[in-house]
Symmetry: C2
Subunit: 120 residues, 2 copies
């Protein structure tokens, strides 16, 4: 049977920041839920475009040429190779849509890289 | 520059039913906005999985083995080859996420097939 997903319910299942959880997959893409707070790290993805959709709170995506502020019901697609730095002054709930090969830190692999994604 | 997309604003740009509009693309996927009302046609997609996310209203997806009712903030992924029939008693606003190769009627090509997708 096909299950439905309630997005708010998925976000209620975890509380850690900057650690995306897989909530759905379709073909070569994942849908992930991530709670963000504070500043992440500057990075880009070599081949993967990445969609950020804000469900709750506010997300700022800094780019080398400016910044984008996303409120609930708004999204942006960051094309591959474009450097970006996600920042959230207060905690925000964000859906990510991206190819399965995408890692959270992309080109900036390090302490904040999440290698093995959980499912919630 | 990377643009942000306000989903509600995209839905305000058109009024026809069952005619998905492209609102974003990333790698081999499109994000589409579609207004639905009434019953569509039974169909499946040969290779494409399809995500339905309800923004406004209510969408029922009938399956051969039951049905799923989606309210705002809920989504379902219909795997390829699974027959489905979307139905909305009242008008609903739905986001679709699917590979670029996906047509709206899949296996049931006919009068309701939208061959050339508009962008809004």
């Amino acid at each position: 049977m096909v299950d439905k997903v309630n997005v708010a319910e998925k976000f209620s299942r975890f509380s850690d920041h900057w650690s995306p959880k897989i909530i759905a997959e379709l073909n070569d893409f994942y849908v992930k839920a991530v709670k963000v707070k504070g500043e992440f790290v500057w990075h880009h993805h070599e081949t993967e475009d990445e969609l950020f959709y804000v469900v709750k709170g506010r997300l700022v995506i800094k780019l080398r040429e400016g910044e984008i502020t996303l409120n609930p019901g708004e999204f942006a697609v960051i094309p591959h190779l474009v450097e970006h730095l996600p920042v959230a002054e207060e905690e925000a709930d964000v859906l990510l849509l991206e190819p399965k090969t995408t890692t959270n830190t992309g080109s900036a692999e390090g302490d904040r890289t999440v290698a093995n994604l959980q499912r919630v």
